[in-house]
């Protein structure tokens, strides 16, 4: 079973089909989209976006691992770093709004009509 050539290959790659990972990532992504579309609390929406980003990370790492190509993982590294910067700014905006309105429900913010 442990042939010489496949010795270095992680078990998961031999045992789990890549589709399953793609499905998992897609499911997370869709859950994230549902969150963005249905929730009205800005922070929860933002968390759903983070969920989407994580599904992307999972997808990239999967492809990277199955292809044994480092580019995908480096990309994930950047996504994580950039997400941190985005979170910093996003939360600052939320704090700012809370200061002015005492609410962060996007539904309450209807000064501008859709």
């Amino acid at each position: 079973m442990f042939s010489e050539a496949t010795a270095a290959i992680p078990d998961v790659i031999q045992q789990v089909k890549i589709q399953h990972y793609i499905f998992l990532a897609t499911a997370l992504f869709v859950i994230g989209i549902v969150g963005v579309l249905t929730r009205r609390n800005a922070i929860v929406i933002f968390m759903s976006v983070e969920l989407m980003l994580n599904s992307v990370n999972l997808l990239l790492i999967t492809f990277s691992a199955y292809r044994s190509d480092p580019a995908g993982q480096v990309f994930v590294f950047f996504i994580m770093a950039v997400a941190a910067a985005e979170v910093a700014v996003g939360l600052a905006i939320i704090v700012m709004i809370y200061r002015n309105t005492r609410t962060i429900d996007v539904g309450f913010l209807n000064k501008l009509k859709f």
Binding site: I22, A25, F29, G32, V36, A42, I45, F46, V49, M52, L53, S55, V56, L59, L60, T62, F63, R67, D69, A71, G72, V74, F75, F78, I79, V82, A85, E86, V89, G90, I93, I94, M96, I97, N100, T101, I104, V106, L109, K111, L112, K113, F114
Partner: protein, 460 residues
Amino acid sequence: MLPIVLLSVFGIVVLFLGFSKSKNILLPATLLFLLVTLIANFVDWNHQYLYFNDMLWGNNASMVFSGIVLLSAFFVVALTRGFEQEGEAAQPAEYYGIMLFSLVGAIMMISYENLIILFVGVEILSVSIYILTGSDKRNLRSNEAALKYFLMGAFATGIMLFGMALMYGATGSFVISDISEIIGTRAWNEQSQLLYAGLLMLLVGLLFKVSAAPFHFWTPDVYDGAPTIFTAYMSTIVKTAGFAALYRLLAGSLASLQDYWFATLATITVLTLLAGNVTAVYQTSFKRMLAYSSISHAGYLLIALTSLTAKSQSSILFYSLAYSLSTVSAFGVLILVSQQQASNNYDAFNGLAKKNPFLAFVLAVSMLSLAGIPLTAGFMGKLFVFTDAAQKGTIWLLVVAILASAIGIYYYFRVLIAAYFKEGDLATIRIAPFYKVVLIIVTTLTIVLGLFPDLVLQLV
């Protein structure tokens, strides 16, 4: 490469110049820096460059795109007047610094070769603009615009990244030329679903940024809520950079799949044209109308993109230049008028021509150019874009576009009617000499480019 370095350094310098006692130095310094960058932008002229292990790629066209972005930024910055009228709460050094930094993102979006540069560029530009949108901290509309833009932008980024991930899964690379090569060899056939879905999501993410329908719903609120000067900034720079990025993606790596994405993109084009133009008719606020007009112009630019002929690039280039110039001057006039009248509505312009013939003339040229009346740059831009569609042979797209531009006349002329034909009590507006010079230059450029489009076209 050089402009990116320069802009980063200059951004930091401006940020720290804010600590000096004399605030008056900020505006000239920023303008000088932008000018230096604009010149430095063209050092690689006539060379096709590829920097840092296939990260940045550029040729004359991308340099001209960067030039347009820098030029628009220059004009917008010139119209800020140092934010002196914003009062104590304004933090000009930060605003200028972030504006300079955001241009780094724009240039990255224009000349990326690796998708990671596109991603980081999009983020740099977007994050800067979230901040600028919310910079009027006490104004609830500005706050809300920032939040909305931020949430929608982050959402779009998520979708775009998912697309990139899928494309990576299908082709195993993030490099534009590699992807193109792999698609060319059709070695991706087995993963075609990944590629198609990825391509679609990547496009959706980018189309979000350039506010194409049906991903445009955030635009009016955000444009309306943001401080006017930053609305001008984002409606010119984000749009130009976004379209350059889209062109680079489609022409650079996905041209051979045109059969696949053509129908989707063409549908989006039609939707954008209709959504932008039809909704713009119902607006009572000039600023909101400009927001919808920016959507409709995204539609015209999409025509060139959808057609993707040999000439598309120069069409997009010329169109975005024409659009940027006219938009800058329209916002320039709007800033002055809305300050006087404390309103962004059409009524605010009533009787503008009587006491302020210069402003009315600038407004007229810019509206004519946006409407695409001959002898202005906007007309030439529209003509080039339409000819692209004709070259591709999509007559129905052309018909929709022409109908849309006919609708456009109506709402662009409403403000002219207000300015010229209506009676109003608008007093003479004092225009700072420098402000006036900028408006004169922009207006002159609009007319000159309408007469001699060759000046720009022969660069590419």
